[in-house]
């Protein structure tokens, strides 16, 4: 049976088509102001790739900020459960998921069956989110996708450590005005974001394997810094875009309905 998962986030919308335990197709688009529009566009993209129509899909599970608005979802599941499910399906040894989303970050702990045991969101006033990187990319005139690569070329170890993310921005502005090298600033940014998120995982007491999901996982700078931050190597999802993990989880859950 063919199922679909649709994850309408604050910054992006994702969809996954799933059949007998394999991913047939997937799509990611920047979220539109209207979540309905986002969901319809992204699911169509995924369906087209697999030459399918909505009629072929037996069940769809929706998740993410905009889940309530997805018109074609048969049922809804929280991001927490979906991310746990997706990561566990991809890497059965996964016991922890760290997801840095556009709006918030989460650490999720699960049992050997991928069931959520505990979870936590980013602290208020000390949040590390994908949005943070976007704003910084703007301020530093760097493409979001290049940040990781550029950051790796750092020479000087800088620190961006204010607890408030927004004030961390003003810290960056100061560094820019001190004419610090962009690569050095980026590196400091990645470490600061990674450490904010690392504390989430630590507060649940870390259990390997730890998987990092969400768009930011593509940023090698943050990814590596996160391993540093939690004190053991973080794993990436195998063979799939970390951004679609939520939608994947949703699709898997749909297949179990």
């Amino acid at each position: 049976m063919k199922t679909a998962g649709c994850d309408i986030g604050s910054r992006t919308a994702k969809a996954v088509i799933f059949e007998n335990n394999t991913i047939i197709s997937s799509a990611v688009i920047p979220a539109k102001l209207d979540p309905i529009e986002s969901s319809e566009t992204v699911i169509k993209m995924a369906l087209d790739q697999a030459n399918l129509t909505m009629a072929d899909i037996e069940k769809t599970v929706g998740t993410g900020y905009g889940q309530q608005e997805i018109p074609f979802a048969n049922c809804l599941e929280s991001e927490i459960v979906c991310h746990a499910k997706g990561a566990w399906w991809n890497i059965p040894s996964a016991r922890m998921v760290i997801d840095i989303g556009g709006q918030d970050s989460k650490a999720i702990k699960m049992d050997e069956n991928g069931k959520v045991v505990r979870y936590t969101y980013n602290d208020k006033c000390a949040s590390g989110t994908g949005r943070f990187l976007e704003i910084m990319a703007d301020a530093l005139h760097v493409e979001l996708d290049d940040m990781g690569k550029v950051g790796k070329t750092y020479k000087e170890q800088l620190h961006i450590s204010n607890q408030c993310v927004i004030f961390a921005e003003t810290e960056v502005v100061s560094l820019i005005n001190e004419e610090k090298d962009v690569a050095d600033i980026l590196n400091a940014l990645h470490i600061s974001l990674a450490n904010r998120v690392a504390s989430l995982a630590r507060s649940l007491t870390i259990a390997p394997d730890v998987i990092m999901t969400g768009g930011v996982a593509k940023n090698s700078g943050v990814f590596d810094a996160l391993s540093e931050g939690i004190g053991l190597p973080v794993k990436a999802l195998e063979g799939i875009d970390p951004q679609i993990n939520g939608a994947l989880g949703a699709a898997i859950i749909a297949s179990e309905l």
Binding site: V173, I176, N177, E179
Partner: protein, 259 residues
């Protein structure tokens, strides 16, 4: 004849003005680049092109803004707070309280009649209550920050949301968008939240009339309206010129003094 210049290298935009015989003779605004020096040089070039002056014609110049220390060609650097106060009072001589909401922070400055600072306060708590707050929200709303004011005026019942922390306010706004609340009510809510934060700062140093508002946010009629209703007094705006220029103008006026 006196020709002086003022430069304001801010985190988001860089501004420059020429003041000729105590009259505004030309101005330039550009988006700040990654390097303040370059921004300063760029804006200087633009300014000279606009006014047809040569750099050598400028008898004195003062720089302000986050990047002030880095500007190569200025005679002196003065803090934004002094410059905004100076500039605002030049336009509104009766002004005793200046509210300036910039990209990175919000300042409220109390002056005596000679433009000396009696007291000032800036937001230290969070960026909510700064231009950044509105930028972030506008981005989430997918509109230009300049539209926030216009849009909000149609609102009948502003939505109240978490406004203490910008990051979490953002999450709230997205929730409201997704639950299809009218954009104007969300915008109005954003403006009111903003005004609340600013009014608190303002009341800390106890306002004296007249109040004059400067900085980019002064263009947002929604915030200004909400703010004056909370403070319960009229807020004068600078009509003659773009409120963003006030800092640079203040700097130029200082240059006039040092000249």
């Amino acid at each position: 004849m006196s020709i002086v210049a003022g430069f304001d290298v801010g985190s988001l935009s860089t501004k420059a003005v020429i003041i000729k015989n105590n009259k505004l003779a030309g101005s330039a605004i550009i988006k700040s680049g990654p390097k303040p020096v370059e921004s300063a040089n760029k804006v200087m070039k633009k300014l000279l092109d606009e006014t047809g002056l040569l750099q050598t014609d400028i008898q004195a110049s003062v720089g302000t803004g986050y990047g002030r220390e880095k500007i190569s060609f200025i005679d002196k650097a003065v803090s934004e707070i002094s410059c905004h106060a100076k500039g605002a009072q030049w336009f509104v001589p009766s002004a005793r309280t200046i509210i300036d909401i910039g990209g990175q922070d919000c300042k409220v400055i109390k002056l005596d009649k000679d433009g000396n600072i009696k007291k000032f306060i800036t937001n230290d708590k969070c960026a909510s209550g700064t231009g950044r707050f509105l930028d972030v929200m506008a981005k989430v709303m997918n509109i230009d920050v300049s539209e926030l004011g216009k849009l909000s005026q149609k609102s009948t019942k502003p939505i109240s949301f978490a406004s203490i922390c910008t990051v979490w306010a953002q999450a709230d706004v997205i929730k409201h968008i997704n639950s299809r609340r009218p954009a104007e009510d969300i915008c109005a809510g954003i403006n009111v939240a903003m005004a609340n934060r600013v009014s608190m700062l303002t009341n800390v140093i106890k306002v004296e009339n007249d109040i004059c508002m400067t900085g980019g946010v002064a263009k947002n009629s929604g915030v200004v309206k909400a703010l004056s209703s909370i403070l319960g007094c009229r807020i004068k705006k600078i009509k003659k010129t773009d409120p963003q220029l006030v800092g640079a103008i203040g700097a130029a006026l200082f240059a006039q003094e040092y000249r």
